[in-house]
Structure formats: C-alpha cells, structure tokens
C-alpha cells in the first residue's frame, strides 16, 4: 500500500501540485488520469522520490518514505519498478543486458541464475529470441515490454507506469494494459499507472484518481466515472464525440 498525504510541489514559484492525498492498494491497478500537463508525471516522480515534495508525506506500507535518508530510500527502491514514458531502456545495452542490469547491480546470483530470471521475465512479456537486440532495433511496443521485464526483474512490490500506452497503436495499447494488470495480480504489487487514455481507464480502472491542474478533483472506479456529475471530469471523459453519444443514449 502507498499512502500520499497533502502533497504539494512547485517549480520556481509555479505551483504544479496542490494538496493531493490518495491511497493506493496492493493487487490493484490504480490509475491517475488527467489532461497532459495536469501534473501526473510530477506526481508519480514525487511518489518515487525522483522529485522532492515541498509539502506532504508519502508512506510505503507503514514506512514514511519522505522521512528516510538516502540509504533508507535506496533500500526501499529495490522494491520499486518503474516503466517510464519513453521506456528509458539503456541504449548501450542489449535487451538481455537491460533486464539483467538490476540483477547484476543488486543480487549475488550466478550468471546462470540471472539468465534464467531474465528469460523468465522476457518470456512473461512475450519477448522471445530477442536477447541480443539493441533497443534501437525494437518497436515501441516491444520497448515497453522489455522495460516492463526490467521493472519486474527484482520482483518489486510497487510498480509505477508513466503513460504506458503513449505512442502505441490501440491494439498494442491493450496488450500492454492487460500485461500490467495481470502482472500486478500475479505479484500482488501496488501498481500506479498514469494515463490520459480513456480505453485503458475503462479496461483497468479499479481505482481512479482524476487530477486537474495539479489538484485532485475526483476519485472512484470505472463504473462510477460514467455516472459522475463532476463537470471537469465529464469534459475529460467524454471529450470525444462517440463517448458523448454513448452517454446521451444511455440516459
């Protein structure tokens, strides 16, 4: 479980996040939705400590993450995995080396054990026979999958995904969404996904937090989202014509 209390963050006098509180539960895919520029990435980076919050506290289970020193955070980081928006694979390394990197860095496993784990993770995300390819040789969807494999190599308890389906076609998007949801259940992780993609919201939304201009506007699940009478949320959810028609016809 991850609990964020009253998070605020500004950059050079410009307020980007204002007093956000939220609880994210294990075994669930928790979504953070909002327009681009609303502060989703900044919020996620604050949660994992890549950015320092100005105010507020963040708990991982019952550990106060914002109160930990460098060393304490480093320990906790080994239980976190993150899928970055552009995949962030190390482009000087092959697929296999990318996934093996956290194992090389933080375990004392033998080479064979590491290779077995790497292949297990790659297999889990349906990447086969690509161990020696470099990231530049992969398609966008494959990069995302390799990045997921790298993120889960150390069996994290917390998974963060920043716009996992940005730049992907609708079909590949669904594959990635399903993969994230399945892995979350398998490893009983607390997963937090940033998205502005309504398809994934309707597929994955067990718990949804809607952010507008850096403040939390609404919270609920995918069934509640359609019936909400929060106007800004409706503008976001029913931004496209098809969705509006569906809403009108269901009345």
């Amino acid at each position: 479980m991850i609990r964020a209390g009253h998070i605020s963050k500004s950059f050079g006098g410009r307020q980007v996040l204002t007093d956000i509180s939220a609880v994210f539960e294990p075994g669930k895919t928790n979504l953070i939705i909002g327009k681009s520029g609303s502060g989703k990435t900044v919020f996620l980076k604050c949660l994992v400590g890549l950015l320092e919050v100005d105010e507020g506290e963040i708990y991982y289970d019952n550990v106060l993450f914002t109160g930990l020193d460098f060393r304490g955070r480093k320990e906790l980081r080994k239980q976190m995995g993150m899928l970055f928006q552009g995949s962030a694979l190390f482009d000087s390394m092959t697929v296999e080396e990318n996934v093996r990197f956290p194992l090389d860095m933080f375990t004392n496993m033998s080479y064979d054990e590491k290779l077995e784990r790497v292949n297990f993770c790659l297999d889990r995300v349906n990447i086969v026979n690509s161990n020696s390819l470099f990231p530049s040789e992969l398609s966008g969807g494959m990069k995302k999958r390799v990045a997921i494999a790298r993120a889960i190599a150390l069996k994290p308890r917390f998974l963060f995904c920043d716009e996992p389906n940005s730049g992907l076609d609708p079909k590949t998007s669904i594959v990635i969404d399903e993969l994230i949801r399945e892995i979350t259940v398998e490893l009983n992780m607390t997963t937090i996904v940033n998205t502005h993609d309504m398809n994934s919201v309707m597929e994955n939304g067990e718990k949804i937090i809607f952010i507008e201009e850096g403040a939390k506007c609404w919270e609920g699940n995918r069934n509640e989202i359609l019936k909400s009478d929060c106007r800004i949320l409706n503008d976001f959810v029913f931004a496209n014509a098809l969705a509006r028609q569906l809403k009108d016809s269901s009345k």
Partner: protein
C-alpha cells in the same frame, strides 16, 4: 555571474556524487574497460594524424625562422622537440580531445538524461552520477598519458620525416638535436598536465550533459558548451600548471 557561481556549485556537488563509494566493483571495472575503448583507443587515430602533421609544421617553421648561419642546424631538432613535448602534445592534444571526447560525453549523458535513463538508474537505487561518470574519468585519466606519449613520438617522427625530405635538416642533425640538452622533467610536466586536462575534459563535459533539462535541442547546446567550457578551463590550468611546475 550568478549563473556562473551556481554552475560552479553544481559542478562540485556532482563531483561529490561521482566519487562516492562505488556500489559494485565488478560493474565499475567492466564499464571502465568499455570507456577505455570508446574514449581512449578510438582517439589514437586522430591524435596520431594531427601529431604527425603538427610535428612536421613545427620543424619547418623552426627551420625557416632560424635561417641564420650563426645557429647550428641541429637546434631545429631541439626546438621542435621542446615545442612538441612542452606544449603541443599536452595542451593542443587536450584541446582537440575536448572537442572530440567532450562533445561525445556531453551528448551521450545528455541523451540519457532526456530519455529518462538517468531517472531509471536513480529509481533502481543506483548512484547514476558515479555509475555513468566515474568510469569515464578513470579511463581518460589512465589512458590520456599514453595518447600524449604517442603524440610526442609521432610528432617528432613527423618532424624528422618531413624535415629531412624538405631538405631543411639532415637526419643526423635532427637526431642529434632531439637528444641535445634533453630535460626528462619536461616529459613529466607534460604528463602531469595531460592528467589534469583529462580530468577537466571528462568532468566538465559530464556536468554539462548530466544537467540537461529539456530535449534534443538542449542536448546539442550542452555538447557545444562542454567543448567551450572545457577548452577555456584547460587554457586557464595550462597557465597555472606551467607557473607551478616550471618556475
């Protein structure tokens, strides 16, 4: 002025992180080997070519400036040797490497920054500054003295080959000249400068790359700044070190 001071402060803070205790020695060793190849071995070609021609030019210029029967001809060899050892093979080669290696380091690290590879390392709990930068600094500090020695040798050979073919000096006189009144300390001086310059090139350029904020445009800008700042710093330290070591 404020920008300069805050840049200076962030440079020292970055150095503090670079020289923190490495997490896993085997990985640092492997990375250093990679950097020895990419920063060191891949610079041998350019250093050899430039040194050969510069040695040739220095010899010809010395010859034409001393066309006076009072000077014995072997002084051409001596003059070329000292210019090459004292200034050319350390400072000029360092400036050339600042252009080649410095821009390469800044754009590589800058790209890692804007594509969130540095964030990915930090998230895993890896000290990204140390993991990325330390191997480069170590590789350059270890390998650049060899580049300087290679440069001295090819420079002196260039002077010999071109000087004798152009007929400004005979082979015997040149060889006598390059041995005449040889001061071994000059080589030490040159190598000390090289080590300091290697440190400057790698750390100043890495600092520019590491702090890129934005996209590929900013990466390009950082790479230009890396070359300018490391060149200026090299020239400044050239004066300081010369005063300290030769006075």
């Amino acid at each position: 002025m404020f920008r300069f001071l805050s840049g200076f402060g962030s440079y020292w803070m970055l150095l503090g992180r670079v020289f923190a205790k490495p997490e896993k020695h085997s990985i640092y060793y492997r990375q250093t080997m990679k950097e020895l190849v990419s920063l060191g071995l891949r610079s041998i070609g350019i250093v050899t070519i430039i040194s050969f021609f510069m040695g040739a030019v220095i010899t010809l210029q010395t010859a034409y400036n001393t066309e006076n029967p009072i000077y014995p001809t072997y002084l051409i060899g001596l003059g070329a040797r000292d210019s090459i050892i004292l200034e050319f093979s350390s400072t000029i080669v360092a400036l050339i490497l600042a252009g080649k290696v410095g821009s390469n380091i800044a754009s590589e690290i800058g790209t890692m920054r804007v594509t969130e590879q540095i964030d990915a390392l930090e998230l895993m709990g890896v000290n990204s500054a140390s993991y990325i930068i330390l191997p480069k600094v170590v590789a350059a500090v270890l390998f650049n003295p060899f580049l300087t020695l290679i440069s001295i040798i090819t420079g002196i050979m260039g002077g010999w080959i071109v000087g004798t073919s152009a007929g400004v000096i005979t082979s015997q006189e040149y060889i006598y000249g390059i041995q005449y009144a040889f001061i071994p300390y000059y080589i030490t001086y040159s190598l000390i400068k090289t080590v300091v310059f290697a440190f400057i090139i790698t750390t100043v350029s890495a600092h520019q790359g590491y702090n890129v904020d934005g996209g590929s445009l900013e990466v390009g800008r950082a790479s230009t700044k890396a070359v300018v700042y490391s060149s200026v710093t090299i020239l400044l330290f050239n004066v300081i070190l010369t005063q300290l070591l030769l006075s």
